[in-house]
């Protein structure tokens, strides 16, 4: 099992000695949905500000390990803000601050002074709304993170490329043109390339911010299929404006409105019998 250690910075310790290259995608390693999940991320009394403007109010949320959690809500409700808090991407925006509460990953406060955000982001990868492959070859895109980490072993890099592209369900489509530009791929392929790049550094958590909003239905279906497969190995949190996508892909759904968490429950409950009338109105398309 991989854990996050706080000293001297957040680093990866692997009791199994697993490396990115040796990470496998075996079904047997995943808990079935019927099994209770462990809490991986715990958000407690969390207040977040953009300058003087409060964006998140007293968020309390426990996110399950190796499950897909969907964040839904109307634009400006804070779902993307919270997502970006989970790997401290908001640190890159001037004036942002956590004024109260904390986010822990396996019990470690990710905003703690001894946590290196760069190391954190290796453990908590992110896929964005718009695919953003680097102007490099497909091969170089995938191993970009490992290159930065100083990995030079060609055999290992080859292994990571194949495993990551297979993991992102892209290998069969690109295996004969690995050294062509990633920018030459279709939109859906580019998004899966970005997912391959994300999983190449063996994160524990993958954050997805509307990953299919720019994709056609076929590419969307492939990414959703991929999400379903990836949860065997990764914990996935997805922000989506598509109710159908949240219903299809996620195990649990959190509904946010005006910076507050309104309801968090099993996806089936949210879409069959939500407790809060606001949730019902939103998932039914009656407001937002």
């Amino acid at each position: 099992m991989e854990t996050i250690s706080t000293t001297p910075t957040v680093t990866v310790a692997s009791s199994s000695g697993a490396t990115p290259a040796s990470r496998s995608f075996k079904v047997s390693s995943a808990p079935s949905d019927a099994q209770p999940a462990e809490t991986l991320i715990n958000i407690e009394n969390f207040d977040f500000y953009y300058g003087a403007k409060q964006a998140l109010f007293d968020i309390n949320l426990k996110l399950d390990d190796k499950r897909v959690t969907a964040f839904i809500g109307p634009s400006g409700c804070g779902k993307s803000t919270l997502l970006r808090c989970l790997n401290r991407m908001n640190d890159l925006i001037d004036g942002t601050s956590v004024k109260r509460g904390k986010v822990t990953v396996r019990g470690i406060d990710i905003n703690g002074g001894d946590v290196d955000p760069i190391e954190l982001r290796k453990r908590v990868g992110m896929v964005f709304q718009k695919s953003n492959p680097f102007p490099k070859s497909i091969y170089e895109n995938v191993i970009y993170g490992l290159r930065i980490q100083g990995e030079t072993n060609k055999t290992r890099l080859d292994e990571v490329v194949e495993k990551s592209l297979r993991g992102a369900a892209l290998w069969d489509e690109v295996k004969d043109r690995l050294h062509e530009s990633g920018l030459g791929l279709s939109g859906g392929q580019q998004q899966r390339l970005c997912i391959a790049r994300t999983i190449a550094v063996s994160p524990e958590i993958i954050l997805m911010d509307e990953p299919c909003s720019a994709l056609d239905p076929i590419a969307t279906a492939k990414v959703e299929e991929l999400i379903h497969d990836l949860k065997k190995e990764f914990t996935i949190i997805i922000v989506t404006h598509s109710m159908q996508q949240a219903a299809r892909c996620s195990d649990k759904t959190a509904f946010f409105y005006m910076g507050k968490l309104v309801e968090y429950a099993d996806t089936r409950t949210i879409f069959m019998n939500p407790a809060n009338p606001q949730t019902e109105a939103y998932v039914s398309g009656r407001f937002g």
Binding site: M243, Q244, F271, M272, N273, P274, E280, V283, S284, R286
Partner: protein, 222 residues
């Protein structure tokens, strides 16, 4: 926020309520035809069943279309599912009424075997059960729905009592067999009408609370 397709759900609801009202009228008229030996009324009951069948198909079509094009969730999804199931129950109520009406036509030509007391009482209870189940659809009163399910035992008990009574008629006087059998089947039809009312009531609990109360031991139908 009102959506442009909200009227489709309103139409769906009103068709289900119309079907419920027609079904109740069919139960009442089929019994009236029996008690008053009114063959013409019985024939009107038989003819009116086509309208119930048509409504069932229309409700199915509306439900399938809504699920296909509007992606309902939560209460709306439950409404569409429950509406389809309830319309099938109501269609079966209509069929039972047709059966009663056909038997009423045959019995109208003969001398009554006995004064009709228990069968009209069964019909009244069944009608009240249907009415209460449909009220749940309008008002979401799940306590009323549960009361409908519990009330089924009353109808079952009358049906069993009638079975014993009519059996003894046949044993004592075989000449009554045909009439006694007709009444037994009418009693059974009314018992089935009450069962359908229970099904609808159970469906209404699912609509209101997303709880499936079918086949629970405390509500087992005989």
């Amino acid at each position: 926020m009102k959506r442009f397709f909200d009227t489709e759900l309103e139409t769906f609801r009103s068709h289900l309520m119309l079907m419920g009202e027609l079904s109740i009228r069919q139960v009442r008229d089929s019994l009236k035809a029996l008690v008053e030996a009114d063959a013409a009324l019985a024939q009107r009951v038989i003819d009116a069943d086509d309208e119930i069948d048509r409504l069932e198909m229309e409700i199915d079509d509306e439900a399938i279309r809504y699920m296909n094009l509007r992606s309902p969730v939560a209460t709306e999804l439950r409404l569409v599912i429950v509406g389809m199931k309830a319309s099938h129950d109501l269609e079966r109520v209509g069929d039972e009424c047709t059966t009663i009406a056909k038997r009423a036509i045959r019995l109208a030509a003969e001398r009554p075997l006995k004064p009709y007391v228990d069968i009209p009482r069964m019909a009244e209870i069944a009608i009240e059960m249907l009415r209460d189940a449909l009220d749940c659809f309008l008002h979401g009163d799940t306590e009323k729905a549960l009361a409908v399910v519990r009330r089924d035992a009353e109808v079952d008990a009358i049906n069993k009592q009638l079975y014993r009574e009519l059996s003894s008629y046949m044993i004592e006087n075989p000449a009554t067999t045909t009439r006694a059998l007709e009444l037994m089947f009418i009693s059974k039809s009314l018992e089935r009408v009450a069962d359908h009312a229970c099904n609808i009531a159970e469906e209404m609990v699912f609509l209101a609370k997303a709880q499936d109360i079918r086949h629970r031991e405390e509500f087992k139908k005989s």
